[in-house]
């Protein structure tokens, strides 16, 4: 094949949805194989590996994100049914979960307040711009919810999605270390914290470690998503009013 013909074929393939979809699945499959090979080591996170590999490939091939997303959107779309499906582990575990309403409510309130307050507070103290702050605020809830919240409070939806995924990778990566350090061995508590602080990526990690941890992660993930979607826009307006007073 001559150079020109090869270039034409490349231009054609890179512009079809097939390329974006295929590279997403190939990169994730490779990332997951490395994760398995590393015996589920939390730092060998398959999402992190896949994102790095795809960004490098797109840069090298000079492909725009929009072109890539035209194919990758089919994967992205499945987040919707996956969130709906979280009702299943929750319904299965309900008889035990319902007896733990106090720990669930307490951990949800304390954890979500810390995640939101510290993220925005630290970034503000270190001089981040208002648009970045508003995009950071919902970073602990899952990408589709975080994008909606960020837009409502004056952030950038796509940037919020990036912060969300980064948070998920950080949480899934450091969770085991943190829980061992603070001496929490209860699998329910570890799972709940992962789902709360690191949404779907933390939940996926919890399911890979134990079904019990995964169930509590899914519970925290769902509850935190609902809580943030309902309350965060009002909390944000309140802090803006208070900030205006001083």
């Amino acid at each position: 094949m001559s150079g020109d013909k090869f270039f034409e074929l490349w231009v054609y393939l890179a512009a079809t949805p097939l390329a974006g979809l295929t590279i997403t699945l190939v990169a994730y499959t490779v990332g997951f194989a490395i994760y398995m090979h590393a015996k589920l080591h939390p730092l060998a996170n398959p999402v992190l590996i896949a994102v790095i590999a795809i960004v490098i490939s797109l840069r090298v091939g000079d492909v725009a994100y929009g072109t890539y997303f035209a194919g990758a959107q089919f994967v992205h779309f499945l987040l919707g049914p996956a969130v709906v499906g979280l009702a299943v582990p929750l319904a299965r575990a309900w008889p035990t979960v319902s007896r733990l309403s106090v720990p669930v409510a307490g951990a949800l309130a304390a954890g979500s307040a810390v995640a939101l307050g510290l993220a925005v507070g630290i970034a503000w103290a270190l001089g981040a711009s208002p648009g970045t702050l508003a995009s950071l605020a919902p970073k602990s809830v899952t990408a589709p919810i975080a994008m909606g919240i960020a837009e409502r409070i004056g952030g950038v939806a796509a940037l919020a999605a990036v912060f969300t995924v980064a948070t998920g990778i950080i949480g899934a990566g450091l969770g085991k270390l943190v829980f061992d350090k603070v001496g929490v061995r209860d699998m329910r508590a570890r799972g709940f914290a992962l789902g709360l602080a690191a949404h779907g990526i933390g939940t996926a990690r919890a399911f890979q470690v134990s079904a019990e941890a995964g169930t509590y992660a899914g519970l925290a993930f769902g509850l935190h998503g609902v809580l943030a979607a309902v309350l965060l826009p009002y909390i944000w307006r309140l802090t803006q009013l208070l900030a205006g007073k001083f």
């Binding site: 299943v88 970045t132 602990s140 990036v162 912060f163």
Partner: protein
Amino acid sequence: MSPFLAGVTWLLLFQCAGEVVSRVLGLPVPGPVVGMLLLFIALRVRDRVPDSIGAAADALARHMSLLFVPAGVGVMMYFGRLAGEWLPIAVALVVSTVVALAVAAITFAALARRAERAEVVAPETEQ
């Protein structure tokens, strides 16, 4: 029809229902989350999870991390902005996530221990 296909169809139907409820009532909660709540109620009312919905939901949950890859690749559009603000963003993300993990885990474990001790001491009050 294969159980998996039937299960995916149910999940999409509940997502559609959630989307409709969210739009019509003007809720701040996104459609899929409302769909999750509706499906949860339906499963509790029936008191069992049909194999089809279980198979589809389990398959999606096992590979949920794959579904975040396209959004994560979006980082490439913001290299400029991130280069200028990388320090506050990185410190904020890491510190807030680590502390939230610790606080949530410690709170849950402590409150669960207390709740379970109360049950052992006075099981009859549970009834």
